[in-house]
Subunit: 358 residues, 2 copies
């Protein structure tokens, strides 16, 4: 464990593809999605316990989720919880955390990770992160963890790498946004594409250098106000700063543009758990291929995922390949193959029925 290692957990999303379970007032990362007794955020934080000291873990979230984060991770000091006034995608979030941490420790090596992914092989994860941190400490490189694809998933970004077998950390050739199915199948067949996990490792000076070069309008905002960071003025400054930042992802703003990007292949039992199908995939099935989290009686029902409140008995007959999800004031029944429509449902629920349902 290295005192120069810092972790930035991004916990500001609302997980809309996981509606109606993930909700604006209680998003996915705060749920015990897998039924293990820990929320996704708690699992994510615990995953770093052998990687850095607890005081080096920072969580960036929306100000609306401040109390949720502090309740779930009471070990964090106030200075370790970074509050965004509004979501502006990953680039401003990472800039904020990077500038703040650079002032605490200019030699910091950062691990940036989403709060709502699952990693089944935790020891592999620890080893991979330590390896990446060592590489980032040594060279001016931006490293992302790549996952060998098991299916032509159209929900992930893909990374093509230069397959030099003598090197464990591979140079990236191209980043690709979410492909269509045909392209995803080609990527899968080619063998030199991996899924972009969205977990990044770099030295804080490397990422700040990249911001100055490729997202200078963001770096200028933070450099101008840097003296407010880690002071009582920080929150006021951040409110102003975010009002000036545009919405842009780190992938689009930096990773796709720089030439010192590397990927470290990580066979760590990873899923972004971004969708109902990914939750279905990662869970154990009953003898009829159903994933059940709820009190159910099933008849002629196959290959479904059911996630419903324990206090309600759910009787299903004659359903095949459906999502059945009830949470709070919403019940959704949708074919698994049509889950991309969940965002449309959510938008319709808001516009036609009211904001209480999203």
């Amino acid at each position: 464990m290295d005192n120069n290692t810092y972790v930035v957990i991004m916990a500001g999303g609302i997980g809309s593809r996981f509606w109606p379970f993930s909700r604006t007032n209680y998003p996915k990362q705060f749920h015990d999605v897998l039924g293990t007794g820990e929320s996704m955020l708690q699992m994510t934080a615990r995953r770093f316990k052998d990687i850095c000291p607890p005081e080096n873990i920072f969580v960036v979230t929306n100000k609306d989720y401040e109390s949720l984060v502090k309740a779930q991770l009471p070990q964090l000091s106030d200075n370790q919880v970074l509050l965004e006034p509004v979501g502006r995608n990953t680039a401003p979030c990472i800039a904020y955390a990077s500038y703040k941490i650079s002032l605490l420790n200019p030699n910091a090596n950062l691990v940036v990770a989403p709060s709502d992914h699952v990693v089944l092989k935790e020891q592999v994860f620890t080893d991979v992160i330590n390896k990446a941190v060592a590489a980032a400490a040594k060279d001016d490189v931006l490293i992302t963890l790549g996952i060998t694809p098991s299916r032509p998933d159209t929900g992930y970004g893909y990374i093509q790498y230069i397959n030099d077998e003598t090197k464990s950390i591979k140079k990236v050739k191209t980043f690709t946004e979410k492909p269509n199915l045909e392209l995803a199948q080609m990527f899968l067949n080619s063998g030199d594409f991996v899924w972009n996990s969205g977990i990044f490792i770099w030295n804080v000076q490397s990422i700040l250098r990249a911001f100055r070069q490729y997202l200078s309008e963001i770096s200028e905002i933070f450099e101008e106000g840097a003296s407010a960071l880690n002071t009582p003025e920080e929150q006021n400054f951040i409110t102003r700063a975010y009002s000036q930042c545009r919405n842009i992802s780190i992938d689009y703003g930096i990773m796709e543009k720089v030439d010192n990007v590397y990927v470290l292949l990580a066979d760590m039992g990873w899923s972004d758990l971004g969708t109902w199908n990914s939750l279905y995939t990662i869970n154990n099935k009953d003898e009829n291929g159903n994933v059940i989290d709820g009190e159910v009686l099933l008849y002629e029902t196959r290959d479904c995922i059911v996630k419903t409140p324990k206090e309600r008995l759910v009787v299903l007959q004659g359903l095949e390949d459906y999502i059945v999800a009830e949470y709070d004031n919403v019940l959704m029944i949708c074919k698994k193959s049509e889950e991309q429509k969940v965002k449309e449902f959510m938008a319709d629920a808001k516009s036609k029925k009211g904001a209480d349902y999203i």
Copy 2:
């Protein structure tokens, strides 16, 4: 309106084919099933307002539903609410009411009707009942209302009648219990079968005579204890009497055996609303054939019946021909064509999950 006309509303059932909406502690007849603002029981009682004086309406129910009946029909005196200690099917229920009313008025003409049927053409109903009552007052006949079948329904009993076009009240040839689909189709094609509505009209002396002849073990019980009826001793006597009565229907015990049974054809927009499909059939459909009672967003959803609490938003995608019903602590999703399994679901819910769910 004739002071000799009495109405017996049978309201002791639990409507198990309508689970999970109909529940042991709140059966179907007490629900506003059609969303009209009145329960089935209240609609049934109101249907007789032009047929007999209000003090001539009697309701037979389970003692567990005493407060529900009295709350929904506050105009009834205590002596008009007959409480069964336990359900013993229709024969003991009708015997109890008949003996009790015969002591109040030995010339009574009785109309016996279930509490959970729907009649859309109320004026036709009034006319038909008055006609039947007049016939029953004149002759020693047992009359049932017959419904011209519109489909080969396997959920109803059928009555074959002798089609003498000179007579409006037809002599019954045979009673048939619920047939299989092939037989039901034959009945439908033949043209001389009607559905047995379970609504009966007879003079009280005619039905008591039939009890003495065909169900003497029941008539003896009530004749022996008749002096307790309409006195403070009535309930104690009834508790004893029901413990001695076997479970038997009026159809099986009397109607199928006697030879003075007649049927009056009644085109009165009738449904027993016994099942989800009958509720589907009687309701207005949206442009995709859906019957909706709830707050819904529908996508690629056709020919479904949805009955869910107003406070829950229900999002359905890709469902065709399903029942989606939520009530209290149970959610059921079942193909419309498989609704006969509802009784199995209910039995399983009780045995595997507990009595709270039924």
